[in-house]
């Protein structure tokens, strides 16, 4: 029996979909687990695009919920990563197209076949949110170091607790070490202090995320990406390994890195 993890945030644009794609891919790639990514953002699907699987959609989540097709028919197998599948959202319907009961049933069915079911929750706290968390066992909350995002994250913590989730974990996304150093961005401790929940990981702002999204290839597989490293660390924590937070100082390139760059080689991500 697998585990259903919902990735949520309240506020839009903080990186739920990117987090879903990277953690899911990481669990399949490094944890050797059978993983399915579920896009619960009906009407505004994007997980397929971030994963680079947009051209392979035939059926979607709503089709499965209404028995238009069998579950297996709607699952898209990612050919690049063994054991990784995607269940896309419908693009033409809206959040009310499915009910929490239908989502619960869907999660129960997926859990039988997969080790991890990772759900990408839509922004907001309405029906779409309620659907996305209905069948989940665990919840992760993504936030960025901004007042608005942290405020919404706090609201989500409250709603998750009211829905019976024990200990949702926090992911701090897009932190900029240089700004934290200058005192112009809240740091990790500030946010944990305010939200009073456990931390799963911290992802530094990284141009490579934009590039990898352009290509439709999750950054978690990119050895040279600092964000990718942060995702790999989180994957290992989800798998039960004790991995320390990576240092967030803006690491100056070392002499050898400069030498490598001089010879046109890529500096190693640290």
């Amino acid at each position: 029996m697998g585990e259903v993890i919902v990735i949520t945030s309240g506020k839009g644009g903080v990186g739920k979909t990117t987090t879903t794609a990277n953690l899911g891919t990481g669990l399949a790639l490094y944890g050797n687990k059978k993983v399915v990514l579920v896009d619960a953002d009906i009407g505004l699907r994007n997980l397929d695009v971030v994963m680079g699987l947009e051209n392979r959609i035939v059926y979607d989540l709503v089709d499965v919920a209404y028995g238009v097709c069998r579950l297996k028919q709607a699952l898209i197998k990612d050919k690049r990563f063994e054991n990784l599948y995607l269940l896309p959202a419908a693009q033409t319907k809206d959040k009310t197209a499915v009910t929490p009961e239908q989502m619960k049933k869907l999660c129960e069915d997926l859990k039988k076949d997969f080790d991890y079911v990772i759900i990408d929750c839509p922004a907001g706290i309405e029906q779409g949110f309620k659907n996305a968390i209905a069948g989940a066992d665990k919840a992760l909350i993504v936030t960025t170091p901004e007042v608005s995002a942290v405020r919404d994250a706090d609201r989500i913590v409250g709603l998750l607790e009211a829905a019976g989730f024990e200990e949702p974990k926090l992911i701090i996304n897009r932190i900029r070490p240089d700004m934290v150093k200058r005192g112009d961005m809240m740091d990790i401790d500030d946010m944990i202090d305010i939200l009073a929940i456990d931390l799963l990981g911290v992802v530094p702002e990284d141009e490579k995320i934009v590039i990898s999204t352009n290509r439709g290839e999750p950054a978690v597989a990119d050895e040279n990406s600092r964000a990718g490293k942060a995702y790999r660390n989180m994957v290992n924590r989800l798998l039960g390994h004790d991995v320390p937070l990576m240092p967030l100082e803006n690491v100056e390139p070392s002499f050898f890195d400069k030498l490598r760059m001089f010879f046109g080689m890529k500096a190693r991500a640290r």
């Binding site: 609201r155 005192g183 112009d184 809240m186 500030d190 305010i194």
Partner: protein, 93 residues
């Protein structure tokens, strides 16, 4: 401190401003004080205090407000104004 501002340097980092604002926003968000909620507290307060003194239930006032904790720092506070009619004999307690 003001002369620092003249030279374009704020004495408080923007991160600390963010943190302080957020703290206050969240206290309010979390408290979610509806009139019904205040009424609930009010009736329980009356029950509890009535064990010890006779109070003017009509004149009882309960509200959420902010008070100054120190300079430039306000904290939310629950303020109750409870007129006492008579203190009961407390000798046995």
């Amino acid at each position: 401190m003001d002369f620092l501002k003249i030279f374009g340097r704020e004495s408080v980092s923007s991160k600390d401003i963010a943190k302080e604002r957020l703290r206050l926003i969240l206290i309010h968000d979390r408290a979610n004080v509806s009139p019904k909620f205040l009424e609930m507290i009010k009736s329980q307060l009356i029950d509890m205090i009535s064990n010890y003194m006779e109070i003017d239930e009509e004149g009882l006032e309960l509200k959420m407000t902010r008070i100054d904790k120190e300079e430039n720092v306000t904290v939310p506070a629950l303020v109750a104004n409870i007129p006492i009619k008579k203190v009961k004999h407390l000798a046995k307690i």
